[in-house]
């Protein structure tokens, strides 16, 4: 170990003799040396995040202050007009409501069904590995394929589901043409696709809970329901927080189901916010307005994530 503490830090982090002589000759204070070393080590990450995250976010905010086609064509400075327009637009409010319904619906259902499946498939069941694989499989399929599959199933005239209903003498349904049914249907399709992921995470978490806890609870007379309530569920809180945050962030930005299955219809019933932004940018060529909408969505996601952390973030140790 070097006599000089700062040199020791430099040596331990692999800084070469050139750097050591630099520090010696300049006689920088220990604090400055440590700061320089820290930033030099962080610089790849700083550059990466600056180029791929902070710069695009800044560019988007800049574009949101212009009307017209900033970035590609003619535009003029509009201040916060795009934000005011967005907040006054009834269609924006409608799409935010549809998006929140969709994201909360998918997240809640994925957590509930994923946890149920994980509890079930954590038991010693015959063929449980195959069943886990089958449930997880939709998660790795592209949503384009998922959309094609479900369009074929749900088509009111040529779909398999209505064919089955008709065979049993039951009334056929306009699954995707009914404004009140379309959003629940795409929530169900997304849950079908994503529930395998929640199940897998919960399975890993369940298997990490020491069996001693259950043995102790059993000795104290706790049945399966009480063991779940007082042992399993509290210890799964960090996992639930993780799934809830990741799922909400993902679903709030989701565009694929609305774009591919219903195109936002019928009558805007499934117009998710990302689809609204996408159409404003790429179909209406209203780039400034679309940028403002995106920035508002960024703030909304930030706020929702903060609330989730406040509600669910509890220290759990075992």
């Amino acid at each position: 170990m070097a006599a000089d503490g700062s040199m020791g830090a430099a040596a331990s982090t692999g800084i070469g003799s050139g750097a050591r002589s630099f520090f010696r000759t300049r006689r920088l204070s220990r604090r400055v040396q440590q700061t320089l070393i820290a930033y030099s080590l962080l610089s790849p990450a700083i550059i990466y995040f600056t180029v791929y995250f902070f710069y695009p976010i800044g560019l988007e905010f800049w574009a949101s202050l212009f009307s017209g086609q900033p970035l590609i064509g003619e535009s003029r400075f509009a201040g916060f007009d795009n934000y005011v327009t967005a907040l006054q637009d009834a269609r924006v409010r409608q799409s935010v409501f549809a998006t929140l319904t969709y994201a909360i619906g998918v997240t809640a259902a994925s957590i509930a069904i994923g946890l149920g499946l994980a509890l079930l498939l954590n038991q010693r069941l015959p063929g449980r590995t195959a069943i886990r694989a089958v449930i997880f499989f939709p998660y790795i399929i592209s949503f384009v394929i998922v959309a094609l599959i479900w369009q074929a199933i749900l088509d009111p005239y040529t779909g398999i589901l209505n064919g089955v209903l008709a065979n049993f003498g039951m009334p056929t349904q306009n699954w995707l043409n009914d404004s009140s049914a379309a959003l629940p249907v795409i929530i169900a399709i997304t849950v079908w696709k994503d529930v395998g992921y929640a199940m897998l995470i919960y399975l890993a978490a369940l298997q990490s809970i020491p069996s001693d806890f259950y043995e102790a609870a059993a000795i104290d007379g706790a049945g399966p329901a009480q063991q779940f309530r007082y042992v399993t569920w509290p210890l799964l809180t960090p996992t639930t927080l993780f799934i809830a945050v990741v799922s909400m962030i993902g679903q709030l930005q989701e565009i694929a189901p609305a774009y591919l299955i219903t195109n936002g219809g019928p009558a805007d019933a499934t117009r998710l916010f990302s689809l609204h932004v996408f159409e404003a940018a790429f179909f209406e060529l209203n780039i400034g307005y679309a940028s403002a909408l995106s920035f508002l969505m960024f703030l909304l996601i930030l706020g929702i994530t903060f609330v989730q952390f406040r509600l669910l973030n509890r220290d759990v140790s075992y």
């Binding site: 590609i72 064509g73 040529t158 043409n177 591919l260 219903t262 219809g265 019928p266 159409e279 179909f283």
Partner: protein
């Protein structure tokens, strides 16, 4: 030779070959619609490459919405393709933004030899112009009209297709039953225009800067279709979504007696059900005989890397012999006057029937597009028509609401 020297020789040779290949090849990028990737065009591209040694055409095919997304991203990155096919409206839209190359110099040089613009239908030229400058060249000129299943109509006692709305409704009701429908409407917004146009409705009045879709005629037109679906149960409810092939699939499967479509569906119907006995009818006549026009144009982005070569390829793609070859292969209708006069075209009963609709087909949004607000207003219109068709909101309530919103957009800066 040691293993290290052998490895260096191998790597060096490989890199040399790679660099020499890259240095010699020039790539011309062409964006195309996936549904229009006909063999006749593939052969034109092959001949172009053979005639231009060292050039390779990268023929990228997309669905229209995906192409638009990619193109806008390319334009923002100042890295656009060299030549782009567009579905109508983009030429003026992007031309207004200064994103396209004016073609006047090319036309001055080659126009006479290729017959442009004299041999093109006048409106096929006008829809690609801005302020006396050419920004695109039409490659397909199409229209939608009534297509019917001859056998289903005969079974219901009709020897001829309907010519008016009243006859159409009568045939639709008579041919519905047993899992089959009289009519299968298309969910895509453009298809609704045949009803509006036949009732004398226009989209936009440039003098007053307002849309005209709150008129009694517009309300009557869309309510007629809604009633056919909801009250008469003689038409399918169009399936919400971006797939506009649903009606064609029902028709091909012998489950819909009538659809409104254009020449783009000729090949899918012929290949999907070669035994289907079907025909093309003149468009219906209510207040007037009319239908919507469509088509594809080619445009060169302002920042294209190889505009001269793009123009050379464009000339070959719009040549009369190419048009005839595509018509024979896929049944597509074309913008050249000499194509209409071609004996082979006139002899084909299906293509000839589509060709006869072109004179009364309208480019619905031609004037609205010039406001730069067409896409926003079209989105509103789609939403309100879906309210009428799916949610059974009366057209008399929904259309004035649409007109009010649309006119507010038009009045805003």
């Amino acid at each position: 030779m040691s293993w290290w020297r052998r490895a260096k020789l191998f790597i060096g040779t490989g890199l040399g070959a790679l660099l020499s290949t890259g240095a010699g090849a020039e790539t011309l990028t062409l964006y195309w619609n996936a549904g229009h990737a006909y063999q006749a065009y593939a052969e034109v591209i092959e001949r172009f490459e053979a005639d231009h040694p060292g050039w390779e055409v990268r023929w990228e095919r997309f669905q229209w919405p995906d192409m638009r997304t990619k193109l806008i991203a390319d334009l923002a990155a100042k890295n656009p393709p060299d030549l782009v096919a567009e579905p109508g409206g983009w030429v003026q839209e992007f031309g207004q933004q200064g994103l396209l190359l004016p073609l006047n110099d090319f036309v001055a040089k080659d126009g006479e030899a290729m017959g442009f613009p004299e041999d093109w239908q006048v409106r096929a030229v006008e829809r690609n112009m801005l302020d006396d400058q050419y920004f695109g060249v039409q490659i397909h000129l199409t229209c939608g009209t009534l297509v019917y299943n001859v056998d289903m109509l005969k079974e219901a006692g009709f020897d001829a297709p309907p010519a008016t709305w009243e006859e159409f409704r009568e045939v639709a009701i008579a041919t519905t039953g047993g899992g089959r429908f009289g009519f299968a409407p298309n969910p895509s917004i453009g298809y609704y225009w045949s009803w509006f146009l036949q009732n004398g409705v226009t989209y936009y009045d440039p003098e007053t800067n307002t849309v005209n879709l709150d008129s009694p005629e517009a309300i009557e037109a869309i309510q007629f279709l809604a009633d056919l679906i909801q009250k008469d149960k003689a038409a399918t409810t169009p399936v919400a979504g971006s797939d506009y092939e649903g009606p064609q699939k029902l028709f091909t499967a012998n489950r819909a007696a009538m659809i409104i479509t254009g020449p783009w569906d000729v090949k899918p119907i012929r290949t999907g059900n070669p035994d289907l006995n079907w025909a093309v009818a003149p468009s219906l006549n209510h207040k007037e005989q009319a239908t919507f026009a469509g088509g594809v144009s080619l445009m060169i982005p302002r920042d294209a890397e190889h505009p001269d070569q793009a123009w050379e390829l464009l000339k070959r793609l719009v040549a009369l012999e190419t048009e005839i070859a595509v018509t024979k292969e896929a049944g597509m209708t074309m913008p050249r006057k000499s194509w209409v006069e071609n004996a082979e075209v006139q002899a084909d009963p299906v293509i000839g029937s589509f060709g006869k609709c072109l004179p009364y087909a309208h480019d619905v949004a031609a004037e609205l597009r010039l406001t730069g607000k067409h896409a926003r207003i079209d989105k509103l219109l789609r939403s309100v028509i879906e309210e009428i068709i799916y949610n059974q909101v009366p057209a008399a309530e929904a259309m004035p609401r649409f007109a009010k919103e649309a006119n507010a957009i038009l009045a805003s800066n």
